[in-house]
């Protein structure tokens, strides 16, 4: 009761109606957001989860054409991997943030990683490449690596890993990518399917 009191204004107040309305809107919006963003799929590691948002298509496509496609999916880089709890906590937080921005249509033309995200990614680069970047025996092979890697972000040099050197929502000509909502599962057109059956 107390709680209700704290949230809802006095029955008599005209704010009451407004508040009820607002709550309804927020809940509805939340559900809408969840649906729009395919919240459930967002829990998975499948990169398709990210393409639920068209704004993610450019990064998806650039990743798809990158050296890392076969080894690292989005979450391998963008989500902490130090422990399971952290992984999902970060994902949820991040997901809600993205979803809100998205729903508000506030996405900038060119996105940047927030500082927190940068740290996460940097740690993930190191997680996979730890031997290459920390073993002194590669000092000779990769000049200056030892010093630079500690003071700079990996991608300040490895600029094309994995999204290429050009960033921004409009950097991909045709925003075509396989999307999770795509229910069509066959790669054979109907006419051909029929012709083969008829044969």
């Amino acid at each position: 009761m107390n709680l209700k009191k704290n949230i809802l204004p006095d029955k008599k107040s005209r704010w009451r109606t407004v508040a009820v309305f607002l709550i309804a809107v927020i809940t509805g919006l939340g559900l809408f957001m969840a649906k729009e963003a395919e919240v459930v799929s967002y829990m998975s590691d499948n990169p398709l989860a990210c393409v639920n948002c068209h704004v993610m298509t450019p990064v998806y496509n650039s990743w798809m054409h990158s050296s890392h496609r076969e080894w690292a999916n989005c979450n391998d880089c963008h989500v902490p991997h130090n422990n399971v709890f952290n992984k999902y906590y970060f994902k949820a937080k991040d997901g809600l943030f993205h979803a809100s921005v998205f729903t508000l249509r506030a996405e900038p033309e060119v996105m940047f990683m927030r500082e927190e995200s940068q740290e996460v990614v940097q740690n993930n680069c190191i997680r996979c490449h730890v031997q290459q970047v920390t073993q002194t025996k590669y000092d000779g092979w990769i000049e200056d690596h030892a010093k630079n890697r500690t003071e700079r972000k990996c991608w300040s040099c490895h600029q094309e890993v994995p999204h290429g050197t050009v960033h921004g929502i409009s950097t991909i000509k045709n925003n075509i990518a396989p999307i999770p909502t795509d229910t069509e599962e066959t790669v054979i057109p109907d006419w051909l399917e029929k012709q083969i059956e008829d044969k």
Binding site: H54, S66, S67, I172, I176, E185, I188, W191, L192, Q195
Partner: protein, 473 residues
């Protein structure tokens, strides 16, 4: 919903109908892809052994004339060039002869299958077996657009799609469902519609006599598995003119050999190297200028390899050099085997005496061809290519030893004299080809029949246009 909104952020200029064969129509909606696609008309790049320039394979290596004696490839054989030329090169090739009209000429209609987006259109309109029926010249007016969008894309969704039944049927024969292919696999499978070994099955139950296009993958895609497939059905592409061997032609097992290489093993697709991303005006798209990646190392290789472009080229060249070093020796041996077999026949050898020998020649040349015909194989899969050549060396050694003993028995115990086949012309003369005649026929065909085809096609396509406008509300 906003996703779709974004997906079609580009403004569609026209609505593209199913199986639209005219690439320029698609190009109206996707100008960047179309412009790059047009670049496959360029012919100015030659690498060590590939590239888009016209390369006369018989001229560069006249042994092939003898290897293919009695078969079309001895007449004319060029290295593949850009997709834009698929129709033109097919018309120009001496292999297709100089038909004078419908029902004429050496080749079946099936030869069109891998050359044009008119093919799925026709198959849809008339049926698959109907498409494969008849002579090549019968469909000259129908098939006019070079390889293009409708060969690989669904016109509604732009998704990659399989437009050729042979690949679907081959998967079925292997007990696989091509619909299970992942997106990444599709980026190779669209190529596997054409860049594969094939044969014409004239004994298909219910379709007897129709040269039905098939891929011999039932037992697997290795050189041995396909060889067994052909041996089991006692198939032959032709009978060799000199040695009378029942021969097999390995056309271009590009996909099959690619699969055995380390790039395929690591999930790298054909499109990754031959259709990398390209940036123009700050925008990225799939480069549809399909060509030798060596003309585009920065986008094609350096995405994954941080090496110098020159070094990467050298890596490719080195593998190609090592392969061709042995390939040429192998060819020498097989050429000799054909000529030695001819000598044996001339000296009165019997069918019985020749039987095993001819099988050795058949198998050796099949294996050689499997390793050679897909011009990319020595890079796509250098280790498998070398293994296959090794197995060919083995078979041809056995064959030539038998031949040596047979010849000795027939009274000829010394090396058989070899003709001068040092140039394409000499070799073609040796096997008895009248090239001048063939060229004249071809000229006549180009003067008379081709213009008719083009006119007919123009009239037909003018019809589509109207249909098109009406659809484009």
């Amino acid at each position: 919903n906003r996703k779709n909104e974004a997906k079609y952020k580009y403004v569609p200029q026209v609505e593209i109908s199913e199986n639209e064969p005219r690439n320029e129509e698609w190009g109206k909606n996707y100008p960047a892809e179309y412009q790059s696609f047009l670049q496959t008309a360029e012919t100015d790049f030659a690498s060590q052994q590939g590239g888009s320039a016209m390369r006369d394979v018989l001229h560069e290596d006249s042994r092939l004339v003898v290897l293919f004696a009695g078969y079309g490839f001895a007449k004319d054989y060029n290295q593949g060039r850009g997709h834009q030329y698929a129709i033109e090169d097919l018309r120009n090739s001496l292999r297709t002869g100089g038909p004078k009209g419908k029902g004429d000429g050496p080749m079946p209609a099936t030869c069109w299958t891998c050359k044009s987006p008119d093919v799925p259109r026709l198959m849809n309109e008339n049926g698959i077996a109907e498409f494969y029926s008849g002579k090549w010249a019968d469909k000259g007016a129908e098939v006019v657009n070079p390889i293009g969008c409708a060969d690989c894309h669904d016109s509604k969704t732009m998704k990659l799609t399989i437009s050729r039944p042979a690949l679907v049927e081959a998967f079925e024969e292997m007990g696989k469902d091509i619909n299970q292919a992942t997106h990444q696999e599709m980026r190779s499978l669209v190529c596997a519609q054409c860049h594969v070994e094939y044969y014409f099955d004239k004994k298909l139950p219910g379709k007897e006599g129709v040269p039905y296009l098939k891929f011999p993958w039932k037992n697997g895609m290795s050189v041995e598995a396909m060889e067994k497939y052909y041996d089991d059905i006692e198939f032959k592409d032709w009978t060799h003119k000199l040695s009378r061997t029942p021969m097999l032609k390995a056309q271009h097992p590009g996909y099959e050999t690619y699969l055995t290489g380390v790039h395929a093993d690591r999930g790298v697709s054909c499109a990754d190297c031959h259709m990398p991303y390209k940036s123009e005006g700050g925008q990225k798209f799939t480069d549809h200028h399909i060509q030798s990646p060596l003309n585009n190392v920065a986008n094609a290789c350096q995405v994954c390899h941080r090496e110098d472009a020159d070094k990467l080229k050298q890596n490719v060249y080195e593998r190609q050099r090592k392969a061709s070093e042995n390939r040429l020796k192998l060819e020498d041996f097989i050429v000799k085997a054909h000529i030695e077999a001819k000598k044996a026949w001339d000296l009165g050898a019997t069918e019985e005496q020749m039987k095993d020998i001819l099988m050795d020649i058949r198998h050796a040349q099949w294996r050689w061809d499997y390793s050679a015909a897909a011009h990319g194989a020595s890079f796509h899969s250098p280790v498998e290519t070398a293994r296959v050549m090794g197995s060919a060396f083995t078979v041809i050694q056995e064959g030539r030893l038998k031949l040596a003993r047979l010849l000795a028995e027939l009274g000829h115990n010394e090396p058989v004299e070899m003709p001068d086949i040092s140039t394409k012309e000499k070799a073609q003369e040796y096997i008895g080809l009248d090239v001048e005649k063939m060229k004249q026929d071809k000229e006549a065909f180009k003067q008379n029949l081709v213009p008719q085809w083009l006119e007919e096609a123009k009239a037909r396509e003018a019809g589509y246009d109207t249909k098109k406008v009406s659809m484009n509300k």
